[in-house]
Symmetry: C3
Subunit: 425 residues, 3 copies
């Protein structure tokens, strides 16, 4: 459990909050590049870290991300004209380039130099590997972008999805590094397995022994988490995942499926205190995605058209089917429609879960460690210690995995595992 | 009128509030038994006294009513699996019995005794006469259930309805013990009568003389209220009703219709500060309900499907028809659709009416007396005086009635009336 | 820019606020007369200055405007019976006349004099020229109604519209006295003109030179504003408008079109802090409205049926069409549907724009002057100085206009202009 104050510090992300300042020391995705398909296309609203922003792709293809409100009289720039290398407020024609500089002010006399004194808050953007990344912190602290392996593999090896969770980012992250829930929430009653690994030995191991022994290692990038369950008589099944500062996760792949199973990197970017942008970036280090891989990722896009919200959501009880719950799956919710089972658990806790009332067990060791690191990062920044992760992009070269190992081997002492979880670029 | 502070004390029902604590000293209905039709059926959300609860009927038929949030990580138990004598959270499989004890915790090591330390807040339930009754107060103060006559008559003598009022429970109760409003709100312009007694002498008496003389008697169970209007030249028409601690009412039957008219017990259970569960329990002491009685009760069920909200509600101005108001009924609202006329009056006052601004007359004597008793009950409990009503179930053996009596007889001195309003079980 | 405190003082209009008290020193429109089409017609809800009121036309044709809540037990008078020279609450039959006096109280004994002690807050109303005007201030300060020219011209010379802006009244007024925005927001890309003056020389002048030189004159009624742009080589184009205490505006007509162009008086009445009633009153001093004039005014009535809200609104991004924005009009929004372009600018600033963050230029001189006068009016009233405008109706005899003048003539020194902008009744 956390005290009320600890919980507030950990969850609030607006400008000026300790966690808000900490997160603003990192580059993170603001949107997908495809949302701005071509130069001078329509602007897009972006709510991010509790701020209302507008994004546009200018005539030269550069992306601008800035305050939604024109500094003149605060009309919305979303309705602006995206033309000739800048966005122009339609109220009085003030025009801003991607840097936020006012480059035209036709409502003032030609000789006026007022234009040179006006700027709109704009955040630098970089496009890489399908995402528009932004940095919302102080310019003199500008960090480097994380150097994920999936930024380096061929496009056909990758797959993406985007949607919203209607709750705070921390409980979104917690839901992801909590490998034990898969043995329940995602399990199949009829086949006595766990999805999505239903057809592999891992799926059976996770169903047979549902609790796990956790081995949590502190790493420079964050946490390396090994969760151990019995496999065969002489072996253990290890599920190996990572949490990377400040809100990236990699969840386990299937055991012995090095060639079959892709790596899952997920990014839990605060939209505001009470909603989270979820980005899935899946990749295979050595081969193109299979069709079935693409189908699985596409299933996360079963959204209400024109929104990033899943069709099965908190308003409709996630379309739970009690008959299905009795006979087929543990949760009775639709699969292949946007991570419904996960959303139902973390969203119904409340927008920001009250952690004074929780009761954590040994299965929550990774969650406890993650919270500690996250809070420590924010507190250290308040004391003037900058996050080293933001300046060491190479530490993000990680991969999740899983393995069946002899009973006397700890996961991070096995040379094959070490090799598999290291993206040596 | 009441001061702001008196009003707050009287209306707020959450845990820890004076009135909330007072009400929690009584058993009251949490839901209807039919909402949980069979063992292991789907759980049901129940909002009660400002608390979000989940109800389920276990394998043995026992009803559990507990906090909606799993004590582990606060996922909603509503989505839980109701199986094998308990409800199981689908997140990590923690299972609770109807007493709130954790009876299985498969996400932790088998040898863990963590399970024995975890409990979810659960309230005891008893089923009687079509309702699930619960007690939400301290276990060592557990009272007895009220012993209403309708709990003893054959099932065919009874009829029920359930719906929501979108306002505080006190103004709901006030609307019920205010017999004078019937002469206006429920009157028929064309027939010069008052509904639902339109075809009886009472309906004419109430139309002819609309104000009434009130005779309010303090009783151990609450208030006995006689409202007197002229009937014939040598007689008065008495309408006799009861308010019983803390939120039960019985409204008048028709005069001289001992064999024709059923008794109306109504229960106004706080859903939270701003909404009220309304339960109608109608019964006849000596005969089965007639078909027309059942039709009248069923008319209160004209609800939006899947909800407990009336189709004619505050969002659509209660479907008022101004032409009907000009020519047929005083209020111009649909009848036979869920007590629309009453709801329109008490809901439009605001969720919690501001009683600093009201102006009470002699027709409000019963309301004034009820408030005094209710506030006194809460205040006495704060001083350590437990409510005697909660421990004397037999005092709830009351019936409402009405009578035409000679002008020199006061209602509660007439032996026939005394006999009629006493349910001598 | 304004400080937070100045902005609050200027924008908040509820009872007891400085600006609320100031505005309550004036008569202003509460509704249109046609909303109460005949004696004893259905009552109408009116939200005004943050107060929930109900309006009705009694049997004699007089309009009552009073607190929505019956003083007895606070039921809504909106559901009341409008009959026999008063509105009667359907709960207990209490009846009030247009002065708020209780004229019948049938729920109390006939000999009761309680009726004489009860009053409902009612505001005096006068009907003039299509509007119901009300005065919500202290009776001993009752002012005179403004004497606009449009109250004196024949009915066929006039046209009206009514709708809601979903923001505070001050930014509504600001949007109207800001003549420069027309050169951008309302301009046509394809014809290189400004609407609605697209077919006149004014429309071309405003497109050719978009900024303007402002000449702001303090007048007893408020502000006289001249905005000057180059016309031909030897002339300037002047747009002349007025702001009149406390929230009336007149916007420019076309140059040299004295006989062709009507005068536009607009009234921006606070519904509450966050919404504004917009009333357009257009008139021609000397001739009937042309059909095209009527079409233009009618276009402002493209509302969602049963509401005063425009079909193109903030929920649907004002139906912006990005292709139209690229090729035809500056804003790309539908015209002829309720002043969509204007609403999109001032509503998206937020319900009450944060004026600490704005950056005003020379084009905002009129806005700055208006704010100063408005704040000063409220502050002086706090010091006991009553607004002289409220007691001098004749100062409202103004007209907006425009003119093309030789370069050496200032607009308010030209005799023809003086004559045109003065409604000499």
């Amino acid at each position: 459990m956390l005290t009320h104050d600890e919980n507030e510090l950990m969850c609030r992300v607006g400008p000026g909050t300790p966690m808000g300042e900490y997160l603003r020391r990192f580059w993170f995705p603001a949107m997908m590049s495809e949302e701005l398909p071509e130069p001078d296309c329509p602007p897009v609203r972006v709510r991010l870290m509790g701020e209302d922003l507008v994004a546009f792709r200018d005539t030269n293809g550069a992306v601008g991300l800035m305050d939604n409100y024109c500094p003149h009289r605060r009309a919305s720039l979303f309705f602006g004209r995206n033309e000739e290398s800048g966005i122009r407020c339609v109220y009085h024609g003030w025009k801003f380039d991607v840097h936020g500089d006012c480059v035209d002010m036709p409502s003032e006399p030609a000789e006026s130099n007022f234009k040179d004194k006006v700027k709109v808050t704009a955040y630098p953007c970089q496009e890489r590997s399908g995402f528009v990344w932004t940095y919302m912190g102080p310019p003199d602290k500008t960090p480097q972008m994380p150097d994920f392996e999936w930024m380096h593999v061929p496009e056909e090896n990758r797959g993406f999805a985007k949607f919203i969770y209607e709750c705070n980012f921390v409980q979104s992250v917690e839901g992801e590094i909590d490998t034990v829930h898969a043995s329940f929430l995602h399990s199949n009653l009829d086949a006595r397995t766990v999805a999505p690994a239903a057809t592999t030995s891992g799926g059976r191991y996770m169903y047979n022994e549902r609790w796990a022994n956790f081995f949590v290692r502190n790493k420079d990038y964050g946490l390396l988490i090994g969760a151990r369950r019995p496999a065969e008589n002489d072996s253990y099944y290890w599920r190996i995942s990572q949490w990377l500062h400040p809100f990236y996760t990699m969840t386990p792949r299937e055991p012995g499926t090095g060639e079959n199973s892709y790596v899952r990197c997920r990014m839990w970017v605060p939209r505001d205190d009470e909603t989270t942008w979820v980005y899935l970036s899946h990749w295979h280090p050595r081969r193109p995605m299979y069709d079935e891989d693409r189908r699985e990722i596409a299933s996360c896009r079963n959204l209400i058209p024109g929104t990033w919200r899943a069709k099965a959501n908190i308003e409709n009880d996630y379309l739970i089917d009690r008959e299905m719950q009795k006979t087929k799956t543990y949760a009775g919710m639709p699969r292949g429609t946007g991570r419904v089972e996960d959303a139902a658990m973390i969203e119904t806790m409340g927008k920001v879960v009250n952690r004074e009332l929780e009761h954590l067990g040994t299965s929550d060791l990774a969650i406890i460690a993650m919270r500690r690191r996250l809070i420590k990062g924010a507190q250290e920044l308040q004391e003037g210690i900058e996050p080293m992760q933001a300046h060491n992009p190479e530490i993000y070269r990680q991969r999740s995995s899983s393995a069946v190992l002899p009973r006397d081997v700890v996961f991070d002492e096995d040379p094959e595992v070490i090799k598999e979880i290291t993206a040596d670029l």
